[in-house]
């Protein structure tokens, strides 16, 4: 039988070259979706194959990798992807945001400000911000070519007419470097401002849809809005029940079937760091427990 053997970081060198070229073009044209010949990965499409391919193409033995899903290092898909790179590339992994050189994420941007030595790799399901307004690639490609984004503004405006607000709460469209309208991946709009003038390089990989795009460091990223309906962030108005943070995005935990709820940081590293530093919330265990993993 053809027993499988795998290259460093799984991908073969030819594939890495192709992805690397796409990444360079993506950085040179901020917000533009570069088509690439996405490979079949040993995990399902829609589960991070784009992010995994981008990470595999940039990762080296010196890197320290962090993988989060929903802000947490401990969600099953994050664990699975972290183990994949531990196994195929033998890189060091961490849960500490500040220590990571490459952070692969699904649906969140860490709360702590990123620094210049970091690359944030987003997993993207539908890279085309206009896709739900116009399903045809041939059409959306033309709109991007002309910078013609009226359709998006009409959609946002219709929301206001119908609900009194822009009814997009995640994957909230942004304009990059005053040119391309871009989908930030399904992050909550709470995270949008973190993309603007970010010190880290941000790379986006969509495996099934075969697109890579990027935001270089210190690049303008503006959430679309109207003068009379400016963009606003949303977070549930409560401190984190574990660390007391009043500025972090919160997960809602259903505690019983009688309407009981509690709210805790979605970014587990942020929350744990704050608890380690002595911050406490209404439900926190005291004294603070050691982390269950390294």
């Amino acid at each position: 039988m053809n027993a499988p053997t795998y290259n460093f970081a799984y991908l073969d060198e030819q594939t890495k070259r192709m992805i690397r070229r796409a990444i360079l073009k993506a950085i040179a044209i901020p917000g533009y979706q570069v088509p690439f010949a996405s490979r079949e990965m040993p995990m399902p499409y829609g589960w991070g194959t784009g992010g995994v391919q981008v990470t595999a193409a940039i990762l080296g033995p010196e890197d320290v990798l962090k993988v989060i899903d929903q802000g947490s290092d401990d969600t099953t898909n994050a664990i699975s992807i972290r183990k994949f790179f531990g196994k195929t590339a033998g890189v060091a992994t961490t849960t500490a945001t500040a220590d990571a050189t490459v952070i692969q994420t699904r649906h969140r941007i860490p709360e702590a400000a990123l620094h210049g030595g970091q690359v944030l790799v987003y997993q993207v399901p539908i890279p085309e911000p206009l896709r739900f307004l116009e399903p045809r690639e041939t059409e959306t490609r033309r709109m991007h070519a002309l910078g013609e984004y009226g359709l998006m503004h009409v959609k946002l405006y219709e929301d206001i007419a119908r609900f009194g607000h822009i009814a997009t709460s995640y994957a909230y469209p942004v304009k990059v470097n005053a040119r391309y309208v871009m989908d930030p991946s399904p992050t909550p709009k709470f995270d949008n401002p973190k993309m603007d003038n970010c010190a880290a390089l941000q790379l986006f990989g969509a495996g099934r849809e075969k697109r890579i795009y990027a935001i270089p460091p210190h690049t303008s990223v503006v959430s679309l809005d109207f003068e009379d309906h400016p963009f606003t962030r949303y977070r549930f108005d409560a401190p984190c029940a574990l660390c007391g943070a009043g500025d972090s995005y919160l997960d809602e935990i259903v505690t019983d079937d009688k309407g009981g709820r509690m709210f805790v940081c979605s970014d587990t590293d942020y929350c744990e760091s704050r608890q380690s530093a002595g911050h406490r919330g209404s439900e926190s265990a005291a004294p603070h427990k050691e982390r269950a993993h390294g």
Partner: protein, 202 residues
Amino acid sequence: MTTVAELPAGFADKVLSAQSTFRSVMDAMARPGSVQRIAADAGTPAAMMRGTAAIALTLFDHDTPIWLDSRMSETSDVAKWLKFHTSAPVIADSSISSFALIGSPRELPALDRFAFGSNEYPDRSTTLILQIDSLTQGPALELRGPGIDGTAILQAAIQPHDLFERLAINVALFPRGIDVVLVHDDAIVAIPRTTRLVARGG
């Protein structure tokens, strides 16, 4: 006839050298004007600097047509080396090249001889790799654009001297355009199509 054994070697460790070279190029492209070093060592044909050779070994393959300027094609060494190590086709028509290697930047052809990409596919453009005399000495250039926190100062012996004036077409062309990588020895600086010259110093 040159035999394979006579060709300068490629990377000793293909996988890790390509990775570290790519990260230098990626950092250069993400931080225009900043000088990045290429640590990987590779044998080079006479006309090629170390940085150029490492970039070629990292990014070129049979999917990337390469155009060589007169200096690079003075002898067949570069073309043979490229074909052996990267399988990249060396082509005569610069307007369909993925990369163009420029050994004598003073004679850089008019930029419209290269591919700008289309508005639909602006990524289908030529990346110029220009070998210049210095990336540390020379007149100061103040740059602005994505990847730069405020402004960046590049001190370099830019050739051709009017390179940035020529690159001004990137403003009108955008998103089409030309991306440039400047190479001196093992140092590189990237000037993507979004970078603008704001001032010249002494």
